[in-house]
């Protein structure tokens, strides 16, 4: 059973079954890792925020560098108007990053390798961005689908394409993260399985592969969190500064 590379993605109940009506709200291993990630973020950044040294120590430096990193990312992609959404994007980036990174620990669970989690996040961003766009620009936000400088003949086609691409944003955003995490972890599991099945004689090659993959996966874990956050910033930029 454990040799199945998809087994690691199984969600199972921890503790008692919690049911409200017909809806199952039980605490699962996925919930556990969401709680662990959130707590880790809160503890680290709380420690970093408590200290007020002029010359920061390590933990303070960590939190302040993260702060300036995300802050710079937002101001670079979405401009100064995106300042009020800083907290959300910071939480989003950190949550995805920590979930990805905790997933790299053997025998742990990767929250972001589940399409439902990433899709809920992406859908929330999509709906939020759309609402912000309509609040800021009214129906003028629909101009987003009509790029300027396009010949009138092509316009109907372009508009349709733009609408489709806009609507597919939550799907692409969620599937990108989910697929990356799932594929990477499956891959590592498969190579781990090879190491065991080939034994002491032939297992070295997949083992070295496994080591390399671990490095790659840590990179991917960071990169995907970054991509997730920066795409959110780009969507937010569309809503805040209507360029078309």
């Amino acid at each position: 059973m454990a040799a199945n590379p998809m087994y690691q993605f199984n969600v199972y109940r921890i503790g008692p079954e919690i049911k409200i009506g017909e809806i199952d709200l039980s605490f699962t291993n996925a919930s556990l890792f969401m709680v662990i990630s959130s707590l880790a973020i809160l503890i680290i950044f709380n420690l970093g925020a408590q200290k007020k040294n002029i010359i920061p120590d390590k933990i303070q430096l960590l939190s302040e560098l993260s702060y300036t990193f995300v802050s710079k990312m937002i101001s670079d992609t979405a401009g100064s108007k995106a300042k009020p959404y800083f907290s959300f994007i910071f939480s989003l980036f950190m949550f995805v990053l920590f979930c990805n990174m905790f997933g790299m620990i053997p025998y742990s669970f990767t929250v972001t390798s589940h399409i439902i989690v990433t899709f809920v996040l992406a859908a929330f961003i999509f709906i939020g961005v759309t609402i912000i766009g309509f609040i800021k620009h009214g129906f003028g936000y629909l101009k987003l689908f009509v790029p300027s400088g396009v010949p009138a003949v092509l316009l109907p086609l372009i508009v349709v394409i733009e609408i489709i691409s806009y609507l597919s944003r939550p799907i692409s955003l969620s599937v990108r993260l989910f697929a990356n995490m799932m594929a990477g972890h499956t891959m590592m599991k498969v190579f781990g399985g090879f190491v065991v099945s080939l034994g002491i004689v032939g297992g070295w090659l997949p083992l070295s592969f496994s080591v390399a993959l671990t490095g790659l996966e840590i990179l991917v874990a960071f990169l995907q969190a970054y991509v997730f956050a920066i795409l959110t910033c780009i969507y937010l930029n569309d809503a805040l500064n209507l360029h078309h």
């Binding site: 059973m1 199945n4 590379p5 998809m6 993605f9 199984n10 969600v11 809806i23 199952d24 709200l25 039980s26 605490f27 699962t28 996925a30 919930s31 969401m34 709680v35 990630s37 959130s38 973020i41 809160l42 950044f45 709380n46 970093g48 925020a49 408590q50 200290k51 007020k52 002029i54 303070q60 939190s63 302040e64 702060y67 300036t68 800083f86 907290s87 959300f88 910071f90 939480s91 950190m94 949550f95 929250v111 390798s113 589940h114 399409i115 439902i116 989690v117 809920v120 996040l121 989910f178 697929a179 990356n180 799932m182 594929a183 990477g184 499956t186 891959m187 498969v190 991917v220 990169l223």
Partner: protein
């Protein structure tokens, strides 16, 4: 980026193969049994995370950063001020040095002049003294010179008197003796001058 996309495609195809070969079949992600639970817990954890971060932690970090920025600006400002002050002080110091050097030169010149004048004054005085002394002495010499023939005459006549007295044993007329001596002396001096 392209590499990563290619890798992803590879991964995905790999995964579909892996999934198909799995005993149970299908991905646990697509099993809707715990979807609602996951959405529920995601909302709770992410919501709490967002609230705590945005209400308590991020403002503190932002305040810290802002404070540091202000502190650094302030420090730079004070450093700039102090630099200017020190430059001013340096200029003042240089001025003072220059002034004091000039003053020292002046003092030295004055002292030198004073000493030189003193020396010349003393020298002239000494010269004068010497001159007067020399004149006096010359006068004396001249006087002596002038008076010496008479004295010599009288001494000579006295001695002659005495000699004659011893030789003859009687006094001789002094005036005749002195006339004789004078006569002889005149002859002597004339013969001396004549040579």
């Amino acid at each position: 980026m392209k590499k990563i996309i290619l890798l992803n495609i590879f991964y995905l195809s790999f995964c579909t193969v892996a999934v198909k070969s799995a005993e149970k079949g299908g991905m646990p992600q697509l099993d809707p049994e715990f979807w609602v639970s996951q959405i529920f817990w995601l909302t709770i954890t992410f919501g709490t995370l967002f609230l705590v971060l945005s209400k308590f932690i991020l403002p503190k970090i932002s305040k810290n950063l802002e404070q540091r920025r202000l502190q650094i600006l302030e420090n730079i400002e004070t450093a700039e001020k102090q630099r200017e002050q020190s430059e001013k002080n340096l200029k003042e110091f240089e001025e003072i040095i220059l002034k004091s050097k000039n003053k020292a030169k002046e003092v030295m010149l004055a002292a030198r002049e004073k000493i030189v004048s003193e020396i010349t004054r003393k020298k002239t005085k000494l010269d004068e003294d010497l001159n007067s002394e020399i004149q006096n002495v010359e006068k004396e010499i001249i006087e002596l010179k002038l008076s010496s023939p008479k004295k010599i005459n009288s001494i000579a006549s006295n001695i002659t008197n005495e000699v004659i007295k011893r030789l003859i044993g009687t006094d001789v007329n002094e005036s005749s003796v002195s006339a004789l001596v004078e006569d002889e002396l005149k002859k002597l001096s004339r013969s001396k001058n004549g040579i």
